[in-house]
């Protein structure tokens, strides 16, 4: 017992890890993160290590050396002699490798999860799609939670004109269609590649902070009336200190629940927007965009099942972990 930490974080960690499902979800999140970071090692059009004509190339899948620019795995196996060797990634296809001999092919030994209508490997694209999803999810939630907490807490604590203005702002933001904002933004900045992902992320953040703000505001209005806040006010503490030290931590647990749900929903919104055909360019892999390909090919079940399952799994583990976290930091659950 003595070795166990009694600090707040320690308690939270112990509480969290107590449930197997929560533990699993945490590991799954790490696994998805790892997959996103190391996508090039799982699926790439170039080998991880290559010895060609006596020259050793280290990590050509990541650094994309000039000399190998014209080569991909298929081409390399053609030109390699016996003295040459290579370590290929388990999925020898890149995110935008077209195998024209297998367009819209069902799962097979060559393409484990089949191909899309351009002959691109579904597995490779699912793996690389994790990058887009995670980037959009994490960053847009950071944006929306920061805006929501800041505006929600300030307006609720001070009340009066500030509160009135915030409520109006909430109404304005809530009434502006996200698609309008996105379409305008895309038409003005004309983003390509990853910049399109950033644009999408900002739009999702800008449109979806109202839920958090309302929640924080509601919680604070409730907590404000509790005796211990009045006590700290009587002790002469300043407003920022009271908000930060006493009010916010108490309001935070519902926010955390909302934030994890927001994370999940941001990933879903990105998928939905890509599904509608906005934003993510055709050469990049987005799970929602991959699902869009099903629309013309209702027989290609593999196009519907795998990218959707990827979104589903990601969203589920985030929800699970968030739930675990909620239970863990809620002080009222301590026995």
């Amino acid at each position: 017992m003595a070795a166990q930490s009694h600090s707040y974080l320690g308690i939270v960690r112990r509480q969290f890890m107590r449930q197997r499902l929560h533990r699993v979800s945490l590991y799954a999140i790490f696994a998805i993160l790892l997959l996103a970071v190391g996508a090039d090692f799982v699926a790439s059009e170039r080998p991880i290590l290559l010895s060609l004509s006596g020259k050793l190339y280290v990590l050509p899948n990541v650094i994309n050396p000039v000399a190998l620019r014209a080569y991909d795995n298929r081409r390399l196996t053609q030109v390699m002699s016996e003295s040459d060797w290579a370590v290929f990634p388990p999925v020898p296809w890149g995110v935008n490798s077209h195998d024209l001999d297998a367009t819209l092919a069902p799962p097979s030994a060559t393409h484990w999860l089949g191909t899309d209508s351009g002959g691109r490997d579904v597995l490779a694209r699912v793996v690389h799609g994790s990058r887009v999803s995670l980037a959009v999810g994490v960053l847009s939630v950071i944006v929306l939670v920061s805006i929501g907490i800041l505006l929600g807490s300030v307006s609720a604590y001070y009340g009066g004109v500030l509160d009135l203005l915030l409520m109006r702002l909430l109404e304005v933001v809530h009434s502006v269609p996200a698609l309008l904002l996105l379409v305008t933004m895309l038409s003005v900045i004309m983003p390509t590649g990853w910049r399109a992902v950033v644009a999408m992320m900002v739009v999702i953040g800008l449109v979806n902070w109202t839920g958090v703000a309302r929640l924080v505001r509601g919680e604070i209005l409730r907590i404000k009336q509790m005796p211990y806040i009045e006590a700290s006010r009587a002790l002469g503490y300043g407003a920022p200190r009271i908000i930060l030290r006493h009010v916010l931590p108490n309001a935070l647990s519902p926010v955390l629940v909302t934030a994890t749900f927001a994370m999940a929903s941001a990933i879903q919104i990105e998928g939905a927007l890509s599904f509608l055909g906005f934003g993510i360019p055709a050469d990049m892999a987005s799970w929602g965009g991959m699902l869009n390909d099903v629309r013309g090919h209702t027989g290609a079940w593999w196009l519907a099942v795998f990218p959707g399952a990827a979104i589903f799994v990601t969203v589920t583990v985030y929800n699970l972990a968030g739930e675990g976290l909620r239970d863990a930091i809620d002080p009222r659950l301590k026995s």
């Binding site: 081409r75 030109v79 024209l100 060559t110 691109r120 390509t192 209702t298």
Partner: protein, 575 residues
Amino acid sequence: MRNCSRVCLLVLCAVGSACTHGKKKDDKPAVAAPRVVATPPAKVEDSKDPWLSGTLPASEMQGEPRSGGDLTVGLSTDPPSLNTYTDSDLVASWITGHRIYQSLVNIDPLDDPEYRVVPELAERWEISPDNKTYTFHLRKGVQWHDGQPFTSRDVIATMDKIQDPTTKAVHVRAYTQELASYSAPDDYTVVFVWKRPYFLTLDTIADWSIQPAHVIAKLTGHQYNDAATNPLNRAPVGTGPFKFVTWESNAKIVIARNDKYWGKKPYLERVLFRIQQDPTVMLQLAERGEIDLVDHMTTDEWVHLNDSPLRNAWNRSKFFSANYGFIGWNLLRPMFADKRVRRALTMLIDRPGIVDKMLHGMPMPTTCHFYWKSPSCDEGLQPLPYDPIAGAKLLDEAGWKDSDNDGVRDKAGVPFRFVFMLPAGAVEGHLWAAKLKEDFDHVGIEMEIQTVEWSAFTKRLTEHTFDACTLAWGGGPRGDPTQIWHSSSIKGGSNYISYKNPQVDKLLEEARVTFDASARDAMYRKFGAILQDDQPYTFLFVRPELNMLSKKIKGARPSLMWWQFENMWLEPQAK
């Protein structure tokens, strides 16, 4: 890219295992054999099978025409209105043009590939020797569908509305700018005087549907535009072989035989246009026999039906109309200003692979701006080959080499990077654009794909603020390329890529006033050869019109002018 021989080529062998050693080879080839011309795919298509090749069987034209019956046509879009002067819409013009409304003259829809001009509301016409004055003698005894007589007043009222700057007939008005005057000396004569002679004058007039003066003459321009005040926008009244019956938005449009028609009356009792945006449902309706003609199918649907039992009850029609898809290179950009670069880019694009493997071998390669069957096209002009090695060599020659060794070609400090702009909703375009990116990437050209809403797309086209884009042009049997290729069309016209060639300008100007068709065709063939050499566009392909017709339909012939319901009849169904 110092070594241009290292161009990546598609190799038909796939890598299966994760970690392998190179195979033992007798002599290591430096480069795999280039797939200059795609190996012909193992096509299921057999030209002898009319179902697969999409030719209507000869029996389809045989038999004794019989009167009566309803024909249901599946359409994928609801037209915005049925007034083609307030809304430029293809579906509306198909339904109303020469069917409900008529024009002074018509282009004979069954006269493929010449499509000569024939009389319609005008019995005959005279053209002055200077080719500027056209006098039309109108047919007598023609009645509007509501019973009023047709006279020259109707023609004048229609022209008034086209010319009225407050109506939305903007897209038609542009063609009247060359019109000096129009007048009606008597009830059955109309005279058009043009500022300049122009070989397409009659074609232009054939496009103008004549509307009833007793409906439109009293309307102001604003009232004319508005569906609430102009009954014609939702319920056209014409003189044609069919009259309008009803229109339920997004559901169906019904037209019926005009029993008082002055000409040969149609056999069909009614034609119902069923609007169904979802192609899958459309096919289901077809399977259930609720639709007799499926119009404008996609390639995917077509291929999907290759082995379908539908072939027992249906015919299919594959018809290459007057259209072509292309990639336009903005010549204002330094990398695309050089002809060699443009030729190289064309050669780097795996068009055979795209057509055969991605688009099921359906589209037809082309190099011609005009209707592919027309004599204005030079059949001998073959597309540049798919030859990445030669393409890369050409890029080297043009000075685009990777001098700073960063993997991207450059010249004078400008890297070969560009953005390829596509309109949202161009599904097949997005499919092959990604392939383009991969192919260019392998030779050291960085291309980014950008999807843009149509309204933003057109704005950037007209402002010339794009690098490369893809579009398709469509048209009729004859066309005047001035709007697209003349240097005067860079500002305000459709010469979005800023193509400027004095030789082409001169040829096009001459052709406009050449009334001898064969002389004009010679000029246009010369123009085609210059385009082929210059490659301002990478000409891609002509896309087929794919239709499926129930076997009970007789007398149908594919045409540039869509289906001629006037000539169709229905065989009684043996149940």
